[in-house]
Amino acid sequence: MDFDIPEEYRILRDSIRRFTDRELIPINEEVEQTKKIPDGIIDQMKEMGLFGILTPEEYGGMGMTVVASCMIQEELSRANICYPMFISGNIGIGTMGIVHFGNDEQKKKYLPAMASGEIYSCFALTEPNAGSDAAAIETRAERKGDTYVINGLKHYITRGNISDVFTVVAVTDKAKRHKGMSAFIVEKGTPGFSIAKIQHSMGTDICQQCELVFEDCAIPAENLLGEEGQGFAIAMGVLEEGRLSLGARAIGIARRLIELSREHAQLRVQFGKTIAEFQAVQWMLADMATELYAMKTMLYDAAWRLDQGNRNRARAGMVKLFCTEAIGRIADRAVQIHGGMGYMEEAPIESVYREVRGMRIYEGTSEIQRLIISRDVLKNGLKSLDYD
């Protein structure tokens, strides 16, 4: 067994790490205050090819592996989770539906522009009455001549306010429940489609969530993605990559929080000693590092297996569940080690603490992950852990 990182990946990781250290970490405060990633940084991200990590090379992407994608997202997250979130539509659910289910024309029309970052994409599934139970969506799409007419409301849609192309999941045949759901490509500016509002959250809100409204929004029939009835499959089709991405981001954030906590503990003097000399603080650092190691090991194991073509929803669910819950504990300890400073806006800790809270909710709540994992254990034993 060899768990060493191959040279090619180290070059990739170091390049992104240098970019993160030199360009992103120094502007963190500014980005959090303005709630905007500077245009110059976005341009650099485009030049580096970050919007096309997983898009196949024939459509202008990098055709890279899930391991590579995770490494890139991990490094970027050390600065701020807003960077992987900013590209997450183009390297994930906003684009991969077209990669896997799109026809030739759709691929040619959208993928190169998405891979270069010329246009941004996002994915709209969640509705007020359908969150964890995605099959309960009520947005409808009715075939009328050579159009589909969409009516309904979506909410919590990340980057809806800046996206150019939306993959929208709607019901085409109510009787068939999740088999009657279909996915559509909707472009910004289509009459009858609007962003109703930006939904402010407890997070840093650099990448925002939006409410989308469809009122008799007619789109060309050729914008159907895949076939009628494939909407649920499209929605579920790229969940594993998305869930591993969250694991990668949690790892990057954990590294940064541990670096900051270590520095603070070694500088802060109370009772005549650095607080790093108190066992209570040492043990917090020990627990943080141990959880990070577990997160890192399980993520890259799962990502590598996915790259070998071994898809497994339970395994991806375990990574998502453990990493997002662990980052909650790690962020909590980072606040604790920083004392009052960890609670105040002056230090770069409290915003991370707020931001990571959402990770246990989006891309499937912790409870939904446990549901997937427990079903798998009951059905298959420990097969998903490769004990077969």
């Binding site: 040279e7 070059i11 170091d14 090819g49 096309g52 890279m64």
Partner: protein, 264 residues
């Protein structure tokens, strides 16, 4: 333009240096190695010249097996090919025997200009390029912060940093060695397509036999300099905090400065 860049892989600047028990070198276990930061400026400048004037960029590096990673990084930034002087015989070199090996690798190549960092941040000798230029019988310009290559590629105007922030402007005929300083440019980050392409770019490995040199001309044997001992500066002692009324404090401070620190 055929552009060469001399590049060295060095310990990351954030490495905490530990001297080995014998005092003959540093403990290399667990060290992370990176491209010498000043060589990054050289690679960037080479790529800029290529973008403007066309041609090829070749990375020349001497170092153990692990140095291929730094060469590939330069290829990922956009350089075209690598030349890797790699042989146990090259180990333990000083500036002179390094220059000797580099010169042997460079002589058969066609080149219009050679770039490199103003020094490597490991031993900080800043001597290799001068020795190399001498061995190749070309000029060198050190500590360059601005470079303009003439349109015909026959000469260049370089600005050097000198004491007090002043600049010296030097016109040099090419080929010449340009030793790059911070401020020359902003090195680019290897892009994802660059990293993918770098995998397929050639690295020519040159061992002792291929270099045409003999074992006693290179590495430790060929060195003019023998390092006797490595040691770290003594750790800074904790500061002293004086207490009392301002007048007493001043007296105490003067006393300490005179008697203990011997500063006044």
């Amino acid at each position: 333009m055929d552009i060469l860049v001399c590049m060295k892989q060095v310990p990351d600047t954030e490495t905490k240096i530990v001297i080995n028990p014998e005092g003959t070198g540093i403990v290399t276990d667990g060290i992370k190695y990176v491209m010498n930061p000043y060589d990054e400026f050289a690679v960037e400048e080479a790529l800029k010249i290529k973008e403007k004037m066309g041609g090829t960029v070749t990375i020349v590096s001497m170092g153990p097996q692990r140095a291929t990673e730094a060469i590939r990084t330069a290829l990922a930034m956009g350089a075209d090919k690598g030349v890797h002087l790699c042989d146990d015989a090259f180990e333990g070199a000083d500036s002179y025997s390094t220059a000797k090996a580099l010169a042997a690798a460079i002589k058969p190549l066609s080149y219009d200009i050679i770039l490199g960092g103003k020094q490597a941040v490991d031993h900080d000798n800043a001597q290799v390029y001068a020795a190399l230029a001498e061995l190749l019988d070309i000029s060198h310009v050190s500590i360059v912060t601005q470079l303009d290559v003439a349109e015909d590629g026959k000469s260049a105007v370089a600005q050097r940093e000198v004491e007090g922030g002043a600049r010296e402007v030097i016109e040099v005929s090419l080929p010449a060695f340009i030793a790059c300083q911070k401020g020359l440019n902003e090195p680019r980050y290897a892009s994802l397509p660059g990293i993918m392409k770098a995998k397929k770019k050639p690295i020519d490995v040159i061992d002792l036999a291929k270099s045409g040199l003999s074992a006693d001309e290179v590495g430790e044997k060929g060195a003019k300099l023998k390092i006797r001992k490595f040691f770290l500066p003594p750790e800074r002692e904790a500061g002293k905090i004086l207490e009392g009324e301002p007048e007493e404090l001043a007296t105490q401070l003067v006393k300490l400065l005179r008697e203990e620190a011997k500063a006044i």
